[in-house]
Symmetry: C2
Subunit: 251 residues, 2 copies
């Protein structure tokens, strides 16, 4: 039996706030060893002072971008899908400009895995519990409508469940071999956190076998490198690059 809930009582977060204390206070004495805390990256960014003045949102996106994956013009401007400095492929590089004060944007945490490790360490040292931490953000996906939450930072949790070599209930080898459990957890937490609720933290209980003694590799392990990716570039962008190369070739 798995239980997930999102505690009330986490107010507006500002730079310098002690997020570990705020979160554990909100969860209250219910928190148990082996629980997993899922925390919306927005409040981690705010606590870490990642709100910056940016007259030009587009420049902020460019600054966070390592590589443009695809872009598309629409009546209100250009949507840029990019790989950001964390290796994450996201619209607008993960720069959030909607829920911030006029003239500011909110960047992702500098290192969400490090943020998760710090939160885990703080929870362990203050209340003595071993918990898993996942920092989540919301992304679009190729081929599917709608957005889902994924893990962009993690500590003390197996981010993948590697079933290679295991068999199913009938003893036959499993085809599906590596499950991205941290992403599935992030999506599950989103079902109770919601976007409009003012509840940016969820607690998952019942998956203590995923919680580890060590901090582990973090959510970075869920990032597939561009070289390994069959969709490292948008279809139009790849076609255009091929067209240019083909035209040059035949001169």
């Amino acid at each position: 039996m798995l239980s997930i809930w999102a505690p009330d009582g986490i107010g507006e977060i500002t730079a310098g706030d002690d997020l570990a204390r705020i979160v554990t206070d909100a969860v209250g004495p219910d928190l148990e060893d082996g629980d997993i805390l899922l925390i919306t990256s927005k409040i981690v960014s705010k606590a870490e002072g990642r709100r910056i003045l940016a007259a030009d949102r587009e420049q902020a996106i460019t600054d966070e971008t390592v590589r443009v994956v695809a872009s598309r013009e629409h009546p209100n401007g250009v949507t840029r899908i990019v790989e950001n400095r964390l290796g994450l492929v996201m619209a607008a590089a993960g720069v959030d400009s909607s829920n911030t004060d006029e003239g500011t944007v909110l960047l992702l945490p500098v290192d969400p895995d490090a943020s998760a490790r710090a939160l885990r360490s703080a929870v362990r040292s203050t209340i003595g519990l071993r918990v898993g931490i996942v920092i989540t953000d919301t992304v679009g996906r190729p081929w599917r409508e709608g957005q889902t939450d994924i893990a962009i930072g993690a500590a003390g949790i197996r981010v993948v469940d590697d079933l290679r070599g295991q068999t199913d209930a009938s003893g036959r080898p499993l085809t599906v071999t590596i499950t991205a459990v941290a992403d599935e957890l992030a999506g599950a937490a989103d079902l109770v956190k919601g976007k409009a609720s003012g509840r940016p933290v969820a607690v998952v209980r019942g998956l203590a076998h995923l919680v580890t003694d060590e901090d582990g590799p973090g959510a970075r392990a869920l990032v597939r490198s561009a070289e390994k990716d069959m969709f490292r570039l948008g279809s139009d962008e790849a076609y255009a690059a091929g067209f240019t190369a083909g035209a040059g070739q035949s001169l």
Copy 2:
């Protein structure tokens, strides 16, 4: 508070089995109005007799394919990512050849949304409860390591949560506007079903607001059409098409 569990007692499913009865028997008298049942597509396919003789697995994949999206050779053969007749972009078109008898493959249900509607109707007529049904399958994703479960069939459930026009807790418009809740539910259910456990069904309780009186549009509404998709073709495939066109253009 959201609860998810995967009942024991669902044995091997064969063609013609009354899946609604088997599932409700396994869940037992605990089932409540507003619960959501998440069912692994494999057992739906088996009950519907979708196991076929196929000496040639590759031919079975070709038969299920509408459009090749990307392919890559590797030491054991070729991985084909294709759009199948359901509009789903999946490796091997969703054809499952590992957990079936030698010389057979398991195809996806003919119409998973129709399967979900039939299961919902059967649950309603036999035990009088209004439940949501989601049929799940496991897929890989661009840009991310590991696989997750998604919704490939649904009935009686809001597959997306459309937040357009809503505001956050501080009254500011939400940027993230459409959440793919059925996919998040599928992933959440996978956390308790697992792949190796012999528990192919999960029950989600606590999201009755997502359960609808009508069957609704089904999981088909989560499929983004190729025309709208910036990643409708693999990067190498799009580059090659562009190269050919560019070379022809300049002759």
